[in-house]
């Protein structure tokens, strides 16, 4: 049945997915003697051999510090690092590679905007607008900025179905300098209309900062079509390594920004008492960058492009559809978040009065990896009035039969906790 649904869906065929799975060595692991069923890609995806191999190759054949080296392997390393930047830029539709700054993760990218753009442009009496569904990484930096500058922090509410309530948006944006919002909720799976939100921000005279952490891995993204000003995302959620992420920004904004961190590699002329700074993007990449990680991210982009982002997105939606349908048949399961047409492959749930951690522990005993907790989304959890949910998320290497394993694990947990 699952297979039929899948075959009828656009995206990837069973054969495609079987071939993809071969590229992910971790899928052969057997935790607790069970096949690994990895349903936690929204926290961090697994890595294909192509990505692991690209970094391996760098370390084995041409590792050297970049930009300042005159010799052959340093030249290779510099070129590979900058080539990775160009790949990422093309992948997200940036106007130029210089608009893509390598950071450690999405969190650093958002902090960079708060420090370098925010500290310079936000004043007492201004407003910063975020939404109630933001990950802590797109909330706490704005809290700190608001506290330091005396700006007001305002929230776009989330309605009962898990969608943004935009009825008061213009009022909220009145006097705002920054509108920061996520493209996709990591807890509810809600897909926001980034182009619309960015346009409203612009109309109100605010810059738009998009947390693209859950969007770039799972759907075609074109930052110019979005029309936003900044977008931040992490490599580790999109088949890339840990330790690398990207802050994209419009060049004229980046050009006008002071540096965030300072030191080697981001300077122009250094005198004892003061210095001048390099052009974008170097200005924002102080110190020796994560070279291997950038190269790994470039390989991840190659992989995603070879499979096709349209296909990946369609396949993920197909799995989500199956999972929602199957879970609806399981008693005591409560699903959070909006209707299917506003979703992507992230499903948060509770099962009776079983705490999310207990459910996750029992699922783990069946080899199933899910996330349990507040998903870095404490205010949203307060609003939903649950201490924690259990979250399953899907990616290109997951399969419909794995959803069956998830369901069987849920039934096992219900058995242990005596839930009918």
């Amino acid at each position: 049945m699952s297979a039929r649904t899948l075959a009828a869906s656009p995206g990837l065929s069973d054969g495609d997915v079987a071939r993809i799975r071969v590229d992910f060595p971790i899928l052969l692991e057997r935790p607790h003697g069970k096949p690994l069923v990895f349903l936690d890609s929204a926290a961090s995806s697994q890595k294909p051999l192509q990505v692991i191999g690209a970094m391996d190759d760098y370390y084995r054949r041409y590792h050297a510090n970049i930009h300042r080296g005159v010799y052959h392997i340093s030249e290779l390393a510099t070129e590979a690092y900058e080539e990775a930047r160009r790949k990422v830029a093309r992948f997200i539709g940036a106007a130029s590679a210089a608009e893509c700054i390598f950071v450690r993760n999405a969190t650093e990218g958002l902090n960079l905007v708060a420090f370098a753009w925010g500290r310079r442009n936000v004043r007492r009496g201004d407003a910063i607008v975020v939404t109630e569904m933001e990950h802590h990484s797109n909330l706490v930096p704005w809290q700190v900025l608001a506290q330091e500058t005396g700006a007001a922090l305002r929230f776009v509410p989330v309605d009962d179905s898990g969608l943004l309530d935009l009825t008061q948006l213009d009022t909220l944006l009145d006097g705002a300098k920054i509108f920061a919002f996520t493209a996709v909720s990591n807890t509810l799976g809600t897909v926001n209309d980034v182009a619309l939100l960015a346009a409203r921000a612009r109309a109100a005279g605010a810059i738009s900062v998009v947390d693209a952490c859950q969007a770039v891995p799972r759907m075609p993204v074109d930052v110019q079509a979005w029309g936003c000003d900044f977008a931040s995302f992490s490599g580790h959620k999109m088949l890339g390594p840990t330790g690398i992420g990207v802050l994209w920004g419009r060049l004229e904004l980046l050009d006008a920004m002071p540096p965030f961190m300072t030191g080697g590699g981001m300077i122009n002329v250094v005198r004892l008492q003061s210095s001048t700074y390099a052009d974008v993007p170097a200005r924002f990449e102080a110190g020796t960058p994560a070279i291997a990680e950038a190269i790994g991210l470039g390989a991840a982009v190659d992989y995603l492009e070879a499979v096709g982002m349209d296909a990946i997105h369609a396949y993920e939606l197909a799995l989500t559809r199956i999972a929602l349908d199957r879970l609806a048949e399981v008693s005591a399961v409560k699903i959070y978040g909006p209707p299917f047409e506003h979703r992507t492959g992230v499903i948060s749930m509770t099962v009776g009065d079983i705490h999310a951690h207990d459910l996750a522990t029992i699922l783990d005993s069946e080899g199933v990896c899910v996330r349990a907790g507040h998903h870095c989304n404490q205010p949203l959890m307060e609003k939903l009035d649950v201490p924690a949910t259990t979250r399953a998320s899907f990616y290109l290497y997951n399969t419909a039969p794995e959803i069956d394993v998830l369901i069987r694990g849920i039934e096992k947990a219900k058995g242990i906790f005596g839930i009918a």
Partner: protein, 129 residues
């Protein structure tokens, strides 16, 4: 890194019983010591109210929400400490608490299992401090 002994060993009947029917649940009016804390990574939350008579724990109540491990562990802990001296409780080791719990806990769930004792010790420390 030790693997743990399977979920059946973890979710034993008495754990589920303490989870569903926590002993010493609730709060005390005018407690001599009180503290509330949470496990930020998972959202478990526990408050402990303590009444002290002389140097002994006369009564203790806990309120909280969270996973079966954290709540059952807190429930078992309240039973174990009643009547003990404050000094004895202050010196209670994590190992002793886990032994009293009687199930083997994986590293990742340790914070759940030890939240109760952490809160209780904080309450006592605050009182003294």
């Amino acid at each position: 890194m030790n693997d743990f002994g399977g979920v059946d060993d973890l979710y034993r009947d008495f754990i589920l019983d303490h989870y569903r029917h926590p002993r010493n649940a609730g709060t005390l009016e005018n407690p001599d010591a009180t503290f509330e804390d949470n496990n930020p990574l998972c959202g478990d939350r526990i408050r402990m109210d303590v009444r002290i008579a002389g140097d002994r724990i006369d009564d203790v109540r806990f309120a909280g929400r969270g996973c079966a491990i954290s709540q059952a562990s807190a429930s078992l802990l309240t039973e174990a400490v009643k009547g003990k001296t404050v000094a004895e409780v202050e010196q209670l080791s994590d190992e002793a608490v886990l032994e009293n719990l009687g199930i083997s806990i994986s590293a990742v769930r340790l914070k759940c299992a030890l939240l109760g004792i952490k809160v209780l010790k904080s309450a006592l420390a605050l009182k003294r401090g």
